[in-house]
């Protein structure tokens, strides 16, 4: 993990990629582990790839760094890290918000990338990708939470990435409550490679594949191994009228990344904005699936629409980890779109389970 030992330099380093650690400083302390690889997580769409690489540190990392709460597992194929839930990450139910969970997933993906020597500009690109002007773009995000952690709980997250088809990569996560080793959530995400200039999707060439997937499980390992699981379900095109909506949402400064695009987690918050109050008061979000279509910037105005999803599979989707059948569930489809043009930004689905109050 690159560390910033000389804080006065923080201000002078030129603005570059998102969340780029202070590699400009000479005091680099993390050693890379061979070929740079792609976590596929850090790059949101449309970033100019910066060019800093993880440097092999000649200096021994401090004890704090070596005892970072995260590390690669023995086989080097996945990464685990633990996080304490902080008080301001807890929402109206006294438990962590789904945005907090999403932030932690992003954090652990980032740290995985760092630990295997991915580029440290925040975009997790390989050398070849940068040469060709390629970046990773999120396609779909699917999060299931069975038990939300509370303030002070420690969540252990394991993550790994692997190939997904010819143009994609996927990153999976498993979340556990460290106290009792219980699985409290699972998530998976799909990423595709895109040329940042032409904005066209690109196949993963063999060259890139070799760089990228060296540190990934060779046999497929899925957070959602069961058939017909929720992460595979299509989200249909939605047409008006929506049953619920919240219009005129605007990005805040804190929602923006370096290139002034709204970050992925903000969309989750926007989707929830149009859920009716009585659902929020009586239910808890179990599953959220988001398909990312367009990017959004500071001056955009966004409408959030919610549609009740009837019929099919109101019950659990056969997942061994899902909530018991007897709990009531509500299911919704969502659309985030630009207020003016009505172009889709995201499509989503949420599943809610009744709170046991």
């Amino acid at each position: 993990m690159l560390r910033c030992h000389t804080p006065p330099q923080c201000g002078r380093a030129p603005l570059r990629g998102r969340r780029e650690p202070r590699a400009a400083s000479a005091t680099v302390v993390r050693c890379s582990r061979g070929a740079p690889q792609v976590s596929g997580l850090e790059a949101a769409s449309g970033h100019a790839a910066a060019s800093l690489e993880a440097e092999v540190g000649g200096q021994r990392p401090s004890l704090a760094e070596r005892l970072r709460l995260g590390s690669l597992l023995e086989d080097g194929l996945s990464y685990k890290e633990s996080f304490i839930v902080r008080c301001y990450e807890v929402g109206i139910n006294k438990t962590a918000t789904v945005e907090t969970i999403a932030n932690l997933l992003q954090e652990v993906g980032c740290n995985h990338a760092q630990s295997v020597g991915f580029s440290t500009d925040g975009f997790a690109t390989t050398t070849t990708m940068r040469k060709l002007g390629l970046i990773w773009v999120t396609n779909r995000m699917h999060i299931e939470i069975y038990k939300y952690p509370a303030w002070g709980d420690v969540v252990e997250i394991e993550t790994w990435c692997q190939e997904d088809g010819r143009i994609g990569t996927r990153r999976d996560w498993i979340l556990k409550d460290l106290a009792n080793d219980e699985v409290i959530g699972r998530a998976t995400s799909k990423w595709v490679m895109m040329n940042q200039n032409t904005r066209r999707l690109q196949r993963v060439s063999d060259e890139v594949r070799d760089e990228v997937f060296v540190h990934c499980p060779k046999t497929p390992r899925l957070a959602f191994p069961e058939e017909n699981n929720g992460s595979l379900k299509k989200i249909p095109i939605l047409s008006d009228p929506a049953q619920y909506s919240r219009l005129g949402l605007v990005p805040r400064r804190a929602d923006l990344d370096m290139n002034q695009h709204v970050n992925n987690v903000t969309y989750i918050g926007w989707v929830l904005e149009s859920i009716p109050q009585d659902i929020i008061d009586t239910h808890e979000l179990q599953t959220i699936t988001l398909d990312y279509r367009r990017e959004c910037q500071h001056d955009d105005i966004v409408d959030s629409l919610t549609y009740i999803e009837e019929g099919e599979e109101k019950s659990t989707n056969g997942s061994a980890f899902a909530a018991p059948h007897k709990e009531e569930q509500q299911q919704f489809l969502h659309c985030l779109r630009f207020a003016g043009t009505r172009d889709e930004i995201n499509r989503g689905r949420t599943v809610w389970r009744k709170l046991a109050r």
Binding site: C10, R86, I92, G152, L178, A179, R252
Partner: protein, 419 residues
């Protein structure tokens, strides 16, 4: 490996059934908090396992044969590579604490070989997010690692991130001292009387902003504010260098939940909290010049900006469905022109909290920018006034900020070593 066993054991594990440590933490000096007392507070302080001081209290006899080999120092205690995780093996918590203590003792000598300050053997536990009472029971210290999603557009921790950590440390202090009543804003005696603390003012001076992956050490303590208020101060430092990051002070008044009127502090609450009052201030006299001032000349160089239609999201609300205080800072800065944010960094801020707002509020944010070329080095500092109000009129927060150009070397504060 030895140290990583120690490390993993600091997770709360299952809540320990040990008896609750006595409430009067004034008498609980760091070295008298024994292992079991710490175990009674799952999820909070990992306690005060200062190597050497807890020797007398470590529950060494509780260790089984397997663990005692660690005490013999046979295990390698110096991590020479990335530590293994033993997360799947969670033995009894108190036993592990005992093991840790002995590991610390055995490893203490070897720590001097590492890039490690021998004065801070407890940093192990603090890496895991638990804090501890220090300085004869008056202060609370906790370390945080800055996470990737906490940094702002210029790759440093945002002021909101820093303020969030202040909030978290304050709560952990209260919890560790056994003074957490219902909800986040009351002691037990206050909860009984439907009273809670409300922040009325916050002042913060930022000397430098930490980066992703930095570890920040926060010290916090409370004191009196007038006859009927409380003050809470914080001092944030870079854990590695000891350099000051931020100093802050806040003023709190007591309010009745039901009547929403200010209330006097009852004697029972005084008994709870006064033992903790510590009359040091984070922001000392010579710091006052760093605080933003009221601009004298209202005319010439003032530019006004506004942003409307700001609404709270679900994630902005606390368990009472009120907007979390820290969110106001984000909204205040919404109306600051982007040119300020790109070229300057926030050097200090004073916030006066007037009113709370909830889910259905719609707010507007106003910023007035005064350019001020009077700093000694000749660099342009900016003073701004801010107003956050409901669109219907009432003021939520008033604030003043001071900004310095990025890259300006802030006045160094002599790093004070651990207390």
């Amino acid at each position: 490996m030895g140290v990583s066993i120690a490390a993993s054991a600091f997770f709360p594990g299952s809540p320990a059934p040990a008896p609750v440590a006595p409430k009067n933490a004034l008498g609980e000096r760091p070295d008298s908090l024994d292992v079991r007392g710490v175990a009674a507070k799952p999820g909070s302080s990992s306690g005060t396992l200062r190597a050497g001081k807890t020797r007398a209290h470590a529950a060494v006899p509780k260790m089984n044969g397997g663990k005692s080999t660690v005490a013999d120092g046979e295990h390698e205690t110096v991590p020479s590579s990335v530590p293994r995780t033993f997360y799947n093996q969670l033995p009894d918590w108190s036993m592990l604490l005992a093991a840790i203590t002995t590991i610390f003792l055995a490893a203490e000598k070897q720590w001097t070989l590492l890039d490690w300050k021998p004065k801070r053997p407890d940093m192990l536990s603090e890496t895991f997010g638990f804090g501890r009472i220090i300085h004869d029971g008056f202060m609370f210290r906790q370390n945080f690692s800055i996470r990737s999603y906490e940094i702002g557009a210029d790759r440093t921790a945002s002021i909101e991130t820093l303020m969030n950590h202040l909030q978290e440390t304050a709560l952990n202090h209260v919890k560790t001292a056994g003074l957490l009543g219902d909800g986040f804003g009351s002691t037990p005696e206050m909860s009984k009387r439907d009273l809670f603390w409300v922040v009325s003012q916050m002042q913060a001076i930022v000397e430098r902003y930490p980066c992703w992956g930095d570890t920040v050490e926060v010290d916090t303590w409370v004191g009196a504010h007038g006859k009927n208020g409380m003050r809470r101060d914080w001092h944030l430092r870079d854990s590695m260098t000891g350099h000051t990051i931020l100093k802050a002070t806040s003023k709190w008044v007591m309010m009745n939940k039901l009547t929403r009127k200010l209330a006097r502090i009852p004697d029972e609450v005084r008994t709870e909290i006064e033992p903790y009052f510590f009359e040091r201030t984070a922001i000392v006299d010579e710091d006052n010049r760093k605080l933003p001032k009221f601009p004298e000349d209202q005319s010439a160089t003032a530019a006004k900006y506004m942003r409307t239609g700001l609404t709270p999201r679900w994630a902005d609300l606390d368990i009472n469905q009120h907007v979390n205080n820290v969110k106001y800072i984000g909204w205040i800065l919404e109306s600051a022109p982007i040119s300020i944010l790109e070229n300057h960094e926030l050097a200090s801020i004073v916030l006066d909290y007037k009113r709370e707002c909830g889910r259905d509020s719609v707010l507007q944010s106003h910023t007035t920018v005064h350019t001020d070329c009077s700093s000694e080095s000749g660099e342009t500092t900016l003073h701004c006034e801010h107003l956050l109000s409901l669109e219907s009129g009432p003021t939520i927060v008033k604030a003043r900020t001071m900004w310095r150009p990025k890259g300006t070397k802030a006045q160094e504060t002599v790093a004070s070593s651990s207390l």
